[in-house]
């Protein structure tokens, strides 16, 4: 790997700051290579195109692509998988015997789907590397990784950059060790944090008499993902002098990270063609407006998702960023399938999050919106509380109802359950925020 000078703000200056016209030329070039491959080799893409009466010959421009190419979504992949008995949902575009690995999606929104991978196939742009370089990580630095393993060996990307990963499980019980090893190795970045871990760090520091500001003094960047970080966790991080960077996946195709400007999350447009369309239609929404993220890979020939409707409600802008990068930015808002319309008002988990967290007993921000269907007469919430509040649940319920009414204008029905009961439902940064009952 050729490294830029250590004082370069960009890992790949030419790519990260290329003019928009050049980004668009490159995208068209990559797209016109990817589409025939996907059509020929990924059966679910072929089936969707045949149903729409489209072939790769019909696509010469990005406008043709937008007008003619059909969408696919997670349901289409699951349906293909179940109807055709294809474990990869018709997405695997290389002979299965040639795969290196079969990993899986997070499965937060249902059964995880299989992700076929071929390592060392090349062509993968330096996603993550560009982002962490931009945050100030350099060869020789230690980087604290707090991750699950289901996505495969993400640490390899950090070793490839010449940094030394310090490895932790994504588990609040690991936070005392994180504090201790942060003081020993003085890492430059932490990937990946979440509200539950922030509170666990606070508790660990209290118990051990550590100063969180000292624990985090070496960190240039603390990256969090999976869920919005609530106001309480944010305030704590700020108190500790931590610079937070939000991170999210981009329609199972690529990833997006905040830069130092903290004005949206960059995704690298040489990895994906991202569209933002009306959630119930196919019309593109204007730059900066709320819509559904639709992603097409420009590099993954093993699992070539084309016009994949992510179910993620986002805003996207292509205006250049203050950091000097020209690639687009997005703001995650919520999931389309999580929205419940109550008394004519659309409610997403993010709309009640801050309200729930503002109640002391519910500071962990653990809750579920009960969504029996897209519409409901009442807003029903299942909310976690800390064990110390066991004897005062009447008060806690009143406080939650008042806070949620102030935030949404709707008085909710609130079922209180111990935090531990909700934590059991999933990995802590990603308990299902919506439940059917």
């Amino acid at each position: 790997m050729n490294l830029p000078p250590a004082d370069s703000p960009y890992f790949s200056p030419a790519e990260e700051t290329m003019p928009r016209e050049r980004i668009e030329e490159l995208q068209l070039e990559l797209l016109l290579e990817m589409l025939p491959h996907a059509y020929e080799h990924a059966p679910v893409i072929r089936a969707a195109w045949e149903a729409a009466g489209v072939t790769p010959r019909d696509v010469r421009t990005v406008d043709d692509f937008r007008e003619r190419v059909p969408f696919v979504d997670k349901d289409a992949l699951r349906r293909f998988r179940d109807e055709r008995g294809d474990p990869f949902g018709g997405l695997c575009a290389v002979p299965p015997a040639e795969l290196t690995a079969v990993n899986s999606t997070s499965g937060t929104t249902g059964d995880p789907t299989l992700v076929p991978e071929q390592w060392g196939a090349g062509g993968r742009p330096a996603v993550i590397t560009r982002d962490f370089w931009g945050m100030g990580v350099r060869p020789g630095d230690h980087v604290a990784l707090v991750l699950f393993t289901f996505r495969g060996p993400v640490y390899g990307l950090f070793q490839g950059l010449g940094t030394v990963p310090v490895l932790f499980d994504f588990d609040p019980a690991e936070m005392p060790r994180l504090c201790e090893l942060s003081l020993r190795y003085r890492p430059r970045a932490l990937y990946n944090f979440g509200s539950v871990l922030v509170h666990a760090v606070r508790d660990a520091c209290e118990r051990r008499g550590l100063d969180p500001a000292d624990v985090f003094s070496s960190y240039r960047a603390v990256v969090y993902a999976g869920e919005p970080l609530g106001p309480r966790a944010r305030a704590l991080a700020q108190e500790w002098g931590v610079e937070l960077f939000e991170h999210t996946g981009v329609g199972d195709v690529t990833a997006a990270f905040e830069c130092h400007a903290h004005d949206g999350l960059h995704f690298w447009e040489d990895t994906a063609l991202v569209e933002c369309v009306e959630p119930d239609g196919r019309t593109p929404v204007p730059d900066g407006a709320r819509g559904e993220l639709v992603a097409t890979t420009l590099f993954n020939r093993v699992a070539p998702l084309v016009r994949y409707r992510s179910d993620d409600i986002v805003r996207v802008t292509r205006a250049p960023c203050r950091c000097g990068r020209t690639h687009a930015r997005m703001w995650p808002i919520g999931r389309k399938g999580d929205e419940v319309v109550v008394q004519g008002r659309p409610v997403l988990p993010v709309d009640v999050w801050g309200a729930v967290e503002s109640v002391d007993a519910c500071a962990m921000g653990l809750f579920q919106v009960i969504r029996p269907g897209p519409q409901a007469d009442r807003l029903r919430l299942r909310v976690g509380y800390a064990p110390a509040w066991d004897g005062r649940l009447g008060t806690v319920g009143d406080e939650v109802r008042a806070a949620v009414e102030a935030a949404t204008g709707i008085v909710p029905d609130v079922e209180l359950v111990p935090d531990a009961a909700l934590l059991r439902l999933g990995p802590p940064h990603k308990i299902p925020r919506v439940a059917p009952r």
């Binding site: 790997m1 490294l3 474990p87 015997a97 795969l99 290196t100 690995a101 079969v102 990993n103 899986s104 499965g107 059964d111 995880p112 299989l114 390592w119 060869p139 020789g140 230690h142 990784l145 707090v146 991750l147 699950f148 393993t149 289901f150 996505r151 495969g152 060996p153 640490y155 070793q159 490839g160 010449g162 940094t163 030394v164 990963p165 310090v166 490895l167 932790f168 499980d169 994504f170 588990d171 690991e174 060790r177 090893l181 020993r184 190795y185 059991r424 999933g426 990995p427």
Partner: protein
Amino acid sequence: MTAAGAHWGVGCYEGDTGRVAWEISHDEIQREMGAAPGRLARLGVGAGSRVLFCSMLSEAGQFWPLMVGAMLAGAQLSSADANEGEAARVAMFTRRLPYDAVLGVTPALLDGLDGLRVPYRDVFGGVRVVGARPGAYERLAAAGLAPHRFVLAGPAVAIGAEPGGPAHVDEQEWRVDLDGDVVCVTNLRPRATTFERTRTAVRARLAGGGIVPSAGREP
């Protein structure tokens, strides 16, 4: 490309008084990667096999060489965390695809399957080699399966060559002995972290040159 003197990473092992961080060099990882295809071949894992590794990120120092070894041998690999919340993922993998081996099954994963009311047989019945850690091994055996012992003896990975047999470490790399019933490890080749009869969380007896963990003790 590696910064001069930079390690592969800082991993974690279970010592007899809790979790211990250990620094791992690129050289030792390389050596273990080189040995791993041979270790896996003794389980019948090679070209065309598919292996699911159940591990936590903090255990990557122990698991990564095996994973690369599987890849070098021409096998396909999958990964899941080895905790309760990942039981559904593990069950999903073996339901959707045939696996020759699932290595690193923990009691927590089995707790998760219990919670989902999924019988162990449904998940592991079709898997030729189930490498189960202490505590999980006994439960799978009680369910009528024939697991192999899979033991993280601190930093050293020990695997049983056959169902019911003792678990062996790589004897080029590690010497194992007991202090009472506590398994201690000593590194035989240079490592970034030196182990000299270092006490691990594993309680066991030694038999046939391998480790037979005491029932009911689980690191």
